[in-house]
């Protein structure tokens, strides 16, 4: 019996948690990351270098059973080069569809899945036409870079006509500051009641499974708290979310875990965005579900049977942002499962999370508040999409 060797593009916390989930299954890991201190370095072989170094990619791919990635901004050329040497899952079409917000929304719309009104924006005139009076998007709207945004970076809220020009100016140099934005997108700002997400997994033979919808609270563009399962979810709502996930995955011939962020607007679901990978809003599954998203992603990309996705215990996931409290203080609290990423503290950086379990969500939420008090986290900060 030869151990499967999984190659992971990116050695961050998601790669690290994939390895921690897969090692007991007899899976070995090799990571590629430019950072020699990448969080996954303790959990497998780390190849240090650039994602566009073709010689390095060939060495990285040598002997791999399968390649996967922990971030969606994998260069298309990288994915193509690797695909010549080993299967790459999720498939390249999923990368393309999730790297640019315009085709991403067009994909959902083509499947009959509601998305907020949007328009591609190349010039200030495009933005004025989209967001101005009578425009297809209107105000308030959110202006975003089409590519490379994350954790609220590359976004600006526009509430008045006067704010259109400054927002355009602030974003037109892109997230990286070099103008490689791939353009902008204007999206109608949705007065949502809450943010939900669904994590689903599709196997190599088309098997499909989905975790229950969860409820997410963001602050400053960063996920702070996930409640799993989301309270007050009618079966029809869960079914609609699962149907959307299944439709997208079938269209893309998807293999692996996919996450979709949704706005709940009076029981109507609008897709915000998707991530073709394990996702922060699925971290609760490590301790609260019958199979973790990390294990299910690995099972899927290796062609193994999927694991059950039911809830074992109601769980509230609390992100640790910027820094983390003394582990002794966290571990003295009831119901906690601590997950640190071995990252240096830095403002706004996700450095760990705590899964907080309870007999019910009331107990889990109360316990989570105690964790947040320790961590200095503010779960209920102003959300950019609320007026």
């Amino acid at each position: 019996v030869t151990a499967p060797l999984v190659g992971v593009l990116g050695g961050g916390q998601l790669g690290r948690m994939l390895a921690l989930a897969g090692t007991p299954l007899g899976i070995r890991f090799r990571f590629l990351d430019p950072d020699p201190d990448a969080p996954a370095r303790q959990c497998g072989e780390l190849v240090v270098g650039r994602y566009d170094d073709s010689g390095l990619l060939a060495a990285f791919a040598d002997g791999l059973t399968v390649v996967t990635y922990e971030f969606e901004n994998v260069p298309a050329a990288t994915a193509r080069l690797l695909a010549d040497r080993a299967p790459v899952f999720p498939p390249q079409g999923a990368l393309a569809a999730s790297q640019d917000r315009v085709p991403e929304k067009e994909l959902f719309r083509s499947l009959g899945i509601p998305v907020p009104a949007f328009a591609g924006v190349e010039t200030l005139e495009d933005l004025r036409a989209a967001g101005g009076p009578g425009g297809p998007v209107g105000l308030p709207c959110v202006l975003k870079t089409r590519r490379l945004g994350y954790d609220g970076k590359g976004q600006a809220v526009v509430r008045t006509i006067d704010e259109l020009a400054p927002a355009f100016a602030s974003l037109s140099r892109g997230v990286t500051g070099d103008g490689s934005t791939g353009g902008l997108i204007a999206e109608r700002m949705i007065p949502f009641e809450r943010e939900l997400s669904i994590v689903a997994v599709r196997g190599a033979r088309g098997e499909f499974a989905a975790y229950p919808l969860v409820e997410n609270v963001h602050a400053g563009g960063i996920l702070r708290r996930t409640t799993a399962p989301a309270p007050n979810v009618a079966p029809a709502l869960q079914r609609r979310a699962e149907d959307a996930a299944r439709a997208v995955m079938e269209r893309l011939n998807y293999v692996g875990v996919l996450a979709i962020e949704l706005f709940d607007v009076g029981g109507e679901l609008l897709v915000n965005e998707m991530a073709p990978r394990v996702h922060n809003s699925g971290h609760w599954t490590q301790d609260g579900a019958e199979t973790s998203q990390f294990e299910n992603h690995l099972r899927a990309i290796l062609g193994w049977p999927l694991g059950p996705t039911g809830v074992r215990t109601p769980t509230v996931m609390v992100n640790l942002i910027g820094t983390w409290p003394d582990p002794r203080d966290v571990l003295a609290l009831p119901g906690v499962r601590l997950h640190l990423y071995d990252k240096a503290p830095r403002p706004g950086r996700k450095v760990g999370h705590v899964n907080v379990l309870g007999r019910d969500l009331v107990e889990a939420a109360a316990r989570a508040s105690a964790v947040e008090a320790l961590a200095g986290a503010r779960a209920c900060g102003p959300s950019p999409a609320r007026a």
Copy 2:
């Protein structure tokens, strides 16, 4: 915040599972093992060399927060040398008490905890006096090496007077064959109803917690199946087992996880042996308990708060002996959590285990039988201590 660095003597599966439990808590690991292919090598830094190499031990100890071990046969000189450089937990007295079956049993007896009748045996005449008519041990008895026995090695059952001499001859060269037996011990063979064990943990400030008693089935001297919690345990039985564990741990000023194997003889508990470490009969806690034995051992030796030891889900642990089935076949079964050790297959070798969860023990046991059928395991083979 500096990450604690835990040094582990031995890089086998127990060390590997300590690291898999501790990495999410921000703990780093360094292992010392003579085998460059030790199972823990993927999960931390592996120092390859002998346990009695004092120069290597000094390098191994450099910068460690604490030292622990995954096997009890750590040479006393090794533990002393390391103790000059870092705290060693469990303490050296626990090593001494568990390395030799005679002082081990004397320790329990001195605390008023019942053990089977026993006698130290240096010569065939000693054995005849102990096991013969009117002797303190009687027949049938089990003759064992005082030191270095494991998984049924270094043991012989003696049923008749005629078997005394051949058993003595077969064991007097010891487990390693070089005569370094430290002598033998004759123990009365107990007509037990079942084998139980208790895993307990004691913190650096004397805090004590115990997992529920579990029921173990051995075959050929090797643990095959653990049922957790053990069925039909009256509160008084659990209390007696916990009291025994607490008494031994307090006497030894113990810090860390300790396992005690017990015979249940009509509701009376007799101590068989103890292990000053995480234990195979505690592996169910990884998936079935509120905190795993591995996490609790680390919490204890680092002076962190202990975690709760309650049952999350009834669990049957099935050992994979000699070889392991295709992971795809295991993972297609309901309720399974697979743990492979990355060891080469070899007859009689523990290469992994499966924790099988169920709504109740009836369901977990039925599911476990399906795993055993796959694995070719026989949970109900003849047990050497049954007549």
